[in-house]
């Protein structure tokens, strides 16, 4: 199972955001897309799931050319996709339980009990029992992210996209969330793609790292390879902090 991004271009107005980006993501790995703020990570992910149309190039899901499909054909692939948005994007008007159950209500033929079981299973999986009846406004940032993950995995996706799942969280909670995503990826054998600029994530679990700078792919490799890269931009980005410099030594 893989997703291939083939030579995509995306611009807004006359601002070129992605330029000739080609990468391949494989399942069962922690695929990380890293890059500075405004480098085009979110745009790349949104192009991959079809929230933005690419100007040129192709997105291929296991030999299914997503870019050429119409709404109906895409729907099948979309039901295999789970996504965790940068801001959570929980439905404000629905409580946690209904948020997670949303996709199931729309597409599954499960009974109410089965759906509730699934919801509780997902909540358990993200270590959030007993929040079923709370509304998004009553949750903390970290809880929202976890509910968003629970919602993303509720439909048993084959592909999981996470846009900065641990930004704005304290270091411990970020690690919890990273581990959670890794566990889910291995456990359910999902193709996971994570946008991040969290260096801890990069060092700890980057099995396939794609570094994007100014809308282009500058470097690809694993977390073991980051220490001896001969590329100024990349090194400036990764080893910006003192702690990372120490780590390099």
């Amino acid at each position: 199972m893989k997703i291939e991004v083939k030579n995509i271009y995306k611009s807004f107005g006359n601002k070129q955001v992605l330029e000739d980006v080609s990468v391949t993501f494989e399942k069962g790995k922690m695929n990380l897309v890293i890059g500075g703020s405004g480098s085009g990570k979110t745009v790349l992910i949104k192009c991959m799931v079809g929230l933005y149309e690419v100007d040129k190039g192709q997105i291929v899901y296991d030999d299914r050319n997503f870019s050429d499909m119409d709404f109906k054909e895409r729907k099948h692939i979309r039901q295999e996709i789970g996504m965790v948005f940068q801001g959570g994007a929980l439905f404000d008007s629905l409580n946690v339980e209904k948020n997670i159950m949303f996709g199931l209500n729309m597409f599954s033929t499960m009974s109410r009990e089965e759906k509730l079981d699934r919801v509780n299973f997902c909540l358990q999986r993200v270590n959030l029992p007993n929040v079923n009846k709370l509304f998004p406004s009553e949750l903390s940032g970290g809880m929202k992210k976890r509910v968003a993950i629970a919602r993303a995995i509720a439909m048993k996706p084959k592909y999981l996209f996470c846009d900065e799942p641990n930004s704005g969280l304290d270091p411990r909670t970020s690690i919890v969330i990273d581990n959670l995503i890794e566990e889910i990826t291995k456990e359910f054998d999902i193709l996971t793609i994570i946008n991040t600029h969290d260096m801890n994530t990069v060092v700890e679990m980057g099995e396939n790292i794609v570094y994007i700078h100014k809308g282009k792919v500058w470097w690809e490799g694993t977390n073991h390879e980051i220490y001896d890269v001969d590329n100024k931009e990349f090194n400036d980005f990764i080893f910006a902090s003192r702690i990372m410099k120490k780590l390099k030594k």
Binding site: K46, V49, G50, L51, F71, R74, K75, H76, R78, Q79, I81, G82, M83, F85, Q86, G87, A89, L90, F91, D92, F102, G103, N105, M106, F107, M155
Partner: protein, 246 residues
Amino acid sequence: MHTLFHIGRYCIFMKGLFLKPEKISVYYKQIKLEMIDIGYGSLGISVLISVFMGAVLTIQSVHNLVSPLVPIYAIAIVTRDAVILEFSPTVVCLVLAGKVGSSIASQLGTMRVTEQIDALEIMGINSSGYLVLPKIIAAMLILPFLILITMFVGIGGGWMAGSITGLINSHEFRRGLLSGFDTYNITFASIKVVMFAFIITSVSAYQGFYTEGGALEVGQSSTRAVVWSSVLILFMDYVLTQLLLI
């Protein structure tokens, strides 16, 4: 150019609403909820303004029509017809454009800027159909009944004002109400309301749905929703009156 762009995109938006829905049962549930939200939620304000509208109409008619040649019960006729033809359908709908329209636009606008609409799309749901169509249908179904209520209340307000001020007594008022009543007026008003309901919900939803940016833009969308639905309501009012009443 700008206007053409909006008209074009509005048409595409409308067409998008009618893609085959995921699950009809979910839509029914949404329509029911929206009917309560839009209809019942607007009952209080509509009734309140109708009472005063009717009252003002009666007093002003007396003021304008004082003449030995005009029988006093004509006041009731004027109040009745003005309320049924214009004040209940148009003025109440203008107020609802403010209340319902801004709430729809800001709800959808917020959902857009917080990526909730994207989240729906990702699941493979036709987001505009799911979010907007139930609102449009609900408003078109429920508002005629709401307006019917406001007609009664408005006329009641006129009768009350007439009695309280002693300008026209209950007996004369009743006589006026019953004389030369044309039921077509009610039909005409209902047609207007259905059209207005469509305008309010679809225009506001369009404005909200295509919000870009953040909280500031949500506010702007909501303002535009009210302005455009009000303008279009009055324009449509003119068109329909010319088409259906002459």
